[in-house]
Assembly symmetry: C4
Homo-oligomer: 192 residues x 4
């Protein structure tokens, strides 16, 4: 089974997810500079989520690029990832509209964590499909950044109970870690 | 006529359908855990619809992949399927916002059933286009799962009149049946 | 210049246009069958617009498929068509929410007419690019259906001033005429 | 790294951005011609933004077409451009709903300017990736129009403080300058 439509569909869903988040920017009733102030938390929340979803797209791009074929399990693991990414706009809007209140920040962390776990499951479904000795599996390697971020999100969730900004900062750290795209796969040239 | 743009357009529409459903998650006014409780039915309704639309995309992916060419009739049969899929977000939101009330659950079943019938019509339009003796027609075979689900939806609709949760459970059974993607087409290698 | 991205971008815009129309279906406050009654005009208006946009996609698919290359003018003529198609959801919602009142039905006709003119301009930009003696120009021919529909829309607009349903019926006639996709281009095999 | 998915994802995001702007057209409560009058500023604002985003898509199409490969930095520079383009619908709606008030027109200019800077950064990331002596770098040349528009937007922003319509006119001038697509790249034939 070829991977082209998997890429096309994922691109479509991620493109819509990243773009409909902007619908959360409610047009201010006033036309003063002050009217923009309440939008600043929404903007910060939006910027982080835009970067996060961008990171997933980037890594997804690299990972699937190095894959030679997909099967039914991979399609489902991919849909599972898209499911959690589709909940990012909801969490982002809740955080932004309520100035980084505790519960929304925790929920945002949970959504990010679930997306991280789904990405991890997708990568291991691909390893299983290609075999442990495949070029793909070797390129994936220890998946250091993946492991670090699935640990950092729960840390952020826990820190949110101390203060929401501490939790949010942990999510920003994850974004910074992933900012450098996954060079592991740049060397792999799929045969398929 | 090549099938590439049919795939691209279908991927686009299905990607938007599956993603705009999340717009139904209204951001809670409060920032308490209790504020999330009313969203639980919406979440259950959303999860089922996400999986359902995902199943259609998966099966559509498999079916069109094994097709060698399309014609005008196929384009229309495909649009007909997309029409019913486009109504899924409406039914999903109605079910979720009204805690699985009877009429919305019945309407959701009708939309699923119509999409199922549209998928059936699409597959038979493709059989007609390729010929009854084609590799494609033989791969489609008796279409056991397609027949079962077009019978299960009306059962679910009828059960909704007893209790909405019974009806909804029938839709979940259909999802479980289709969860395993259509292996029939995995063997067919299109020549086109 | 290759036509691939022109197709991809047009598919994307048309997919979003055809799908966001469904956002106009406001979820009823009640969960009775009667609560669905006010949605019937919206449904009729939506169904026609879905078919109309589907027709444009079908014809666009056929026309661009038979094209060997595009230039800057073609990109702009294509964007012009997408502009008018992007206004279809607005007109559709206005017609549906106000039970086929006169002004909305006229506005819907104007949007359809402008999209029709934009399609005509696109096809003639393509003829100009390929040359009057090209296979493409000969396939386009007299463009009988294009001419008829650009005459039928103004007729519908005029009839709307007698009664909105008369005008709407004229738009339905256009849809019926175009229902059969453009066979002219099915014979042309692009060299590019 | 191939550029195909960069194109597909950008097409997806730009297609959604250009289309969801139409959601700002709130359906009038009345069905009179007068009810359309308040929508005229929204229409003007929408038309300019549609053309602006169309220009970015056109130029992006031309630029990426002439590129032979991309790297991680290019993906991020591209996401940065998409971020600013995603804010266009917000600014457009604010301008339209408040009849070209000063602050919204300034904000629209800032968003356009940031998108212009992001496009400039993307083009120079691509020059850096391909080398200063590459065919691509020579095709980009002095980037006259890019420089002119990044100067015209601040001029428009400054003029908005005199009168919003003066500022908006400056943005229209930028649109007119870019209306003619970038012929520089039409001569470059990528080898990749």
């Amino acid at each position: 089974m070829t991977k082209n439509r998997l890429e096309a569909f994922s691109d479509g869903v991620i493109a819509v997810v990243i773009t409909i988040m902007v619908l959360e920017f409610k047009v201010p009733q006033e036309t003063t500079w002050e009217a923009l102030l309440p939008l600043i938390p929404t903007m910060i929340s939006y910027a982080l989520s835009f970067i996060m979803v961008g990171i997933y797209w980037n890594n997804h791009h690299h990972m699937i690029h190095s894959v030679t074929s997909v099967n039914g399990r991979v399609l489902w693991a991919n849909l599972h990832l898209l499911f959690w990414l589709s909940l990012v706009p909801f969490a982002t809007a809740w955080v932004g509209e309520h100035q980084f209140a505790q519960v929304p920040v925790v929920v945002q962390g949970v959504v990010f964590e679930m997306a991280g776990i789904a990405y991890y499951l997708l990568s291991h479904t691909l390893v299983h499909h290609h075999g442990r000795d495949s070029e793909f599996a070797q390129a994936l390697g220890g998946d250091f950044k993946g492991v670090v971020s699935t640990l950092l999100y729960p840390t952020g969730i826990a820190l949110s109970f101390v203060h929401p900004w501490l939790g949010f900062s942990a999510y920003v750290v994850v974004a910074l870690i992933w900012f450098i795209p996954d060079r592991r796969f740049e060397k792999v040239h799929p045969k398929g």
